[in-house]
């Protein structure tokens, strides 16, 4: 998944906007943004954070300044453990052409010491969008771990995995019936990219996305009818 190939694949598939959300880490975000320069593809910086409750959440922002401020907060709450590449694989950092820059040495696959509610507030305060990820998954999904959507934070939208359809998700989990949904394939390789979400945006920004969600202008396209 080197940056130029991510850009090329997205453009080939007719995608206008992508978010880069590595697990507990944003070291490769700038490279992808730089690689997109002049192509017309919009790349939003982000992160998939694993909270203290072992709930995966996507946090999306507009600018590198925001994601860097966010990363500093996460850095202070990531346990001080070293990655063991022989068990967990290497965590590479690359530049915009895909050239190797170095390794991320800290173990990223663990939980950040931040609650889901604290993470919502941090993301919101920095102007970002907070999307609980693959909420239907048995592992790292919000519904399994926390039972229902917390009432005391204003979550706007949820993501479901590729393993379920929207009607089935609403049927199986009545506790999410009031929330609009996006669907993602959680692609870790280029050939895993499947469907996408169509949003009608006045501007390709976090604010634009939030407005589209509020106006229910979100359409899920191209996922299998599992």
């Amino acid at each position: 998944m080197i940056p130029p190939l991510i850009i090329e694949t997205a453009l080939d598939k007719g995608i206008d906007l992508i978010g880069i959300t590595d697990h507990n880490c944003s070291s490769n975000v700038e490279a992808v943004i730089n690689a997109s320069s002049g192509t017309g593809l919009i790349v939003l910086p982000g992160m998939e954070v694993q909270t203290r409750e072992e709930v995966h959440t996507l946090c999306l922002f507009d600018s590198l300044v925001q994601i860097q401020a966010f990363q500093r907060e996460i850095d202070g709450k990531l346990p001080d453990l070293k990655n063991k590449p022989e068990h967990f694989g290497s965590q590479l950092v690359v530049d915009q052409s895909g050239e190797f820059l170095g390794y991320e040495d800290r173990l990223l696959l663990t939980s950040v010491d931040i609650s889901l509610n604290e993470l919502f507030n941090l993301t919101n305060d920095l102007g970002g969008l907070f999307i609980p990820a693959h909420v239907d998954r048995e592992v790292f999904g919000l519904i399994k771990n926390l039972g229902f959507i917390p009432q005391d934070i204003e979550i706007q939208i949820l993501e479901i995995s590729k393993n379920i359809t929207v009607p089935d998700a609403y049927l199986r989990y009545p506790q999410i019936k009031d929330f609009p949904l996006i669907q993602s394939g959680d692609a870790h390789r280029l050939d895993e990219i499947m469907g996408f979400n169509r949003l009608y945006l006045e501007s390709p920004t976090i604010l634009g996305i939030k407005q589209a969600i509020n106006q229910k202008m979100v359409e899920i396209i191209g996922f299998p009818n599992v």
């Binding site: 409750e53 609650s115 889901l116 509610n117 399994k144 771990n145 926390l146 039972g147 229902f148 005391d152």
Partner: protein
């Protein structure tokens, strides 16, 4: 065995109001899980629920299942808002630095079982 005796025996910290008469509460059974969807399906009324989950949703789940108290283990600390919510719902939150394994083992020794 009443809840006050259990609190004393295990040295549990009472996070919610201490004014309650814990000696009048008789836990009937025990349950352990950190996955709230499992607790919603599995915990019994008047059970002691042992968990290291400290998210605010534990209060609603505890109230739904009418548990006798929630024991939060391994030093996990609920946020202030969670403790307030528990007060409003009348749910007793207890805390300990000890592990879930140790707490459940101790409760078993005190005679508590999975079912009443």
């Amino acid at each position: 065995m009443n809840l006050q005796e259990i609190i004393n025996h295990l040295g549990l910290e009472v996070l919610t109001t201490k004014d309650k008469d814990f000696s009048a509460v008789e836990p009937q059974s025990g349950y352990i899980s950190d996955l709230l969807s499992c607790v919603m399906a599995g915990a019994n009324p008047l059970s002691l629920w042992v968990t290291l989950q400290a998210h605010i949703n534990i209060v609603a789940v505890g109230a739904l299942k009418e548990v006798a108290a929630i024991i939060i283990t391994e030093g996990a600390r609920p946020e202030e808002g969670t403790i307030q919510k528990a007060e409003e719902e009348g749910i007793t939150l207890l805390a300990t630095p000890l592990s879930s394994f140790f707490i459940v083992g101790s409760l078993w020794e005190l005679g508590l079982r999975e079912k009443a």
